[in-house]
Amino acid sequence: MSNPDESNWIAPEVLSGIRQQFFAECSDHISVLEAGLLELSAGHNDWEIINTIFRAAHSIKGGAATFGVEGLQHFAHELESPLARFREHHTFPSPAAIKVLLHAIDLLADMTRAALDGGCLAQDQIDSCVRELSTIEHAPIAEPASQVSKRSGSDNAFEDIGFVPAQAEFVEIASEPQHFRVRFRPHGELYARANDPLPLLRALKRLGEAEVTLDADSLPLLSELDHNEGYLFWTIDLLTAHDEAQIREVFEFVEQECELEIVCISSVAPAPENSLSPQKPEAPPQSNSPVPTQTPTSKGTQLSSTLRVNLDRLDRLMNLVSELVISEATLCEYAPPETDTHPNFPKALDDIKMLTRDLQESVMAIRAQPVRTVFQRLPRLVRDIEMATGKEVHLVMEGEDTEVDRTLIEGLNDPLTHMIRNAIDHGIEDAATRVKAGKSQKGLLRVSAAHRAGRLIVEITDDGQGLDRERIRSIAVERGVIGAEDVLSNEEIDSVIFQPGFSTSEKVTDISGRGVGLDVVNRSVQALGGRIAVSSRPGLGTTFSLSLPLTLAVLDGMLVSVCAQGLVVPLTNLLETVPLSTENLLQLGANTELLAIRGRHVPLVDLGALFEYRPPAPIKAEGVAVLVEADTGQQIALIVDDILDQRQVVIKALDIDTHPMEGIAAATVLGNGRVALILDINAIVALRRPKGTPAERLAADG
C-alpha cells in the first residue's frame, strides 16, 4: 500500500466538477434530514427514520471532508453526534430537541449554499447552534421504550463502545493505539455496485499503521472463475488510536456487500466481538408509522439551481420534439397556396416553425453535457499509463466546457482512452531518449476540445517522436495492407495506421493491446458519424484529430429518391451533384461506369441496383449523380432518380437486426409521414469494393 493519497494528483478543475455533484447531493440529504425530523415531530416514532437521518448527516460530513469544506464538515459532525446518540440509545428526540435539530438543518443548508459560493457564515451563529446541539447531546437520556432496551445485545456495534465525544475525530487522539485485525471479504455485489476495495484500504491506512495481507487462496482456476464473484480477501492489521466503530465506519457503505470482521487484538482493548453480520435493526412492536424517508419537502429544493432529471424523461421529451418537427414539416407540406388562406396564415406557420426550432434547440441544450465528464477521467488514466510504461507525461486539457449531446459523450470515452494510451505508449519517448533529443524529460500530452463548423473537434497532441513512416511503410507492406510498389504520400502513409490489423508496437504491451489499435478507434468514431485524422512531424510529435457531430439526434442531409424510395445523403459526405449526360458518363470494361468531373473520373454506383430496388441494368445517361466522399477520402458518385430537398432530419433508430442493413445508417420520417433511409456512405463504398485481388476473385469464382 504505497500509493500516494489520491488528492495529490486530482486536478483542481476535475475536483470542481465532482464538488458540484456533492453540493447537489447535499441538498438531497438535507431534504431527507428535514423530512425525517418532521415525521418524528409528527409523532411517527420509527427507528428507520433515525437511521435514515443519521446516514444523511453522515454522508454530508463525509462529502464535506473529502472536499475540504471544513466548516461544513465540523458542523455536520456536530449535527451527527446527537443523532448518533439517539441511534445508539434507541431513544427518540424530544420536541425541544427536534426544534434545535431543525434549526441546525436550516443552518446547514445556509452553510452549504455559502460554501458553494466559496463563502462561509458568521461564526457566532454557528457556535450558538453548536452549543444548542451539544445540550441535546448531553441531555439525560430519556427512558427508552421498554421493548427496545432488551435488544441492546452484542448485535449492535456501538453499544459496548460508548459514545465518542464530538471533538475526538478532529483533534489528535491521545489514547493508546490498539491493534485491530480487520478481515474484509467483499462479495461480488460490492463490485457490482461499483465499489472498490482500494479506497477502503486506503481509508483504513489513514486511521493508523496498516499492514495489508491479500488472501487469494479462494481464487479458482480461470476456467471456473465467475467474473461477477469476488475471490480476493484481505486481512488488515491496523495499529490505531481510533476505536472499532470508526474502523467500521470506513465500511459503512459496503457493509451489506461484504463479510467484515473486526477483532481487537491488543489486551487493553475491550473483549473482541464476534463476527458481525450486517445489522438488522428490528422494528420495535409499537412503531407502526409509515415509511417516511421518501417524503418530499419544498424547502430542500431551494438550495440548488440545478435539477437532476431521469434520462428516460429527457429521451421522451426529445422524442416528442422530434415528432413535433415532423408534424411541422407535414403542416408545411399540406399548407394551402397563399391565395387560398387567411392573410395571417403564413405568418402563423412561420411562427410555428421558429418555435419548433427553438424548442428543439432548447431540448438539445438540456441533453448537452460538457466533455469534462469524459476528460475528468484522463488524469487518472494518464497516471496509470505512466506507471505501466515508466514514462513521465504532463497532461494539459483544454476546452473541457465544450458541450455535446450526451449520446456522444458516452461514445467518446473509448476512442479517447485508446488514443491517449497510444500517444503515450507509441508517441512519447522514454526520458533518456527525450533528453538525448534535447527535449524536456517529461512528455507533453495536450487534449483539447472545441466547436468548429458545427462539429466537435477533439485533438490529442503529443510532443513525442512522431510517426515513423519508414517503419509504418515496411510493416504495412509486410502485412499486406499496402503493396510494396505503392507510391504513397506522407499523409497516406500516416493514415495507414487506421487500417485493420496494423500495429507498429514491436512488443505487445498491456497498454496498447494486441494490434486492435487505431482501426478499432477509427471504426467506433465512424459509428458516431465522426472522422479521425492524424498529422505528424518526425521528432516533434503527432496530433490526432477527431471530428464528431454535435448530436446524434438530427442530421443535415439531402433528400433524394431512388425507385420512389426516399433516401437521405448526409451533408458531411456530400461533395456536389451533377446531372448525368452522355458527355460525363464513361464506360470502362464490362461493368464499370465512370463519371467524368473536372478532369477526374469517379466510379458510378447505381443505388437502385445496389440496393436491389430494381434489377441491374446498364447505366443510362439520365438522372443525377451525387458525388460523395467516404471518411477514407474515397469518392464515388451515386446515381439517383431525383433530388428532392435539403433539410435537417430527425434520426430514428432502425431497429431491425434480422437482416443486414448494409449501406443504411438509420431512418427518418418525412413531412408526408413516410420513412426515408439515411445512407451510410462509408458502408456503401465498402460494399462495392470487392475483396481480395482480381486473381483471387477469379480463383474464387472458378
Binding site: 415528432e323 445496389l610 436491389e612 431491425i656 437486426d657 434480422t658 448494409e662 443504411i664
Partner: protein, 158 residues
Amino acid sequence: MAERALSPKTPTASARELMSFRLGTQMFCVDAIAVKEVRNWSQATLLPRSPSYLRGVINLRGIILPIVDIGVLMGLAPNDATDDRVIIVVWVQKRLVGLLVDEVCDLVTAPQEAVETTSDLTGEAIHTIVRELITVEGAVLGIISLEQVMPRREGSSA
C-alpha cells in the same frame, strides 16, 4: 369485420385469447395480448437487399415499424393488392413488428385444451411459423409463433 362468427366462450383460467385473421382462404391467429393495434396499409419504404417477405418500413407515430408479409414468409402466394390489406402491429421480443394480412376477423377465446401442437412432417417454411393449431367452432386456425417472425441474427450489431 367478422367474417365468421366466432363467439367467445366464457374465459377460464387456461383460456387463450387470440386475434384471428385471414390470408387468402386460410385462417390464422396471434395471441391477442401481443397485439398493439390494427392499422391500414400505408406506403412503406423498401429496405435495401431485403428478402421478399420484408415489405419495408413505415412510420408508426415516430417508430420505424418493419412490415412482414406473413403470408410470403409462410410460403403462401403473394398478395400485392396492399392497399386493401391491413397491418396487425404486434410485440415481438420487446419490439414492434407489423404483420401484413388480408383481413382481421375476430377476437377468439378458446380453452387451452383446444390447442394442439403440429408436427412437422414436410419441412416446409410454414412449420417454423405455425407450431400450434386451435379449433374454434369447427374451424381450424394456425397460431402464429411470433418469436419466429423476426428471429434475431447471431452477432447482429443493431
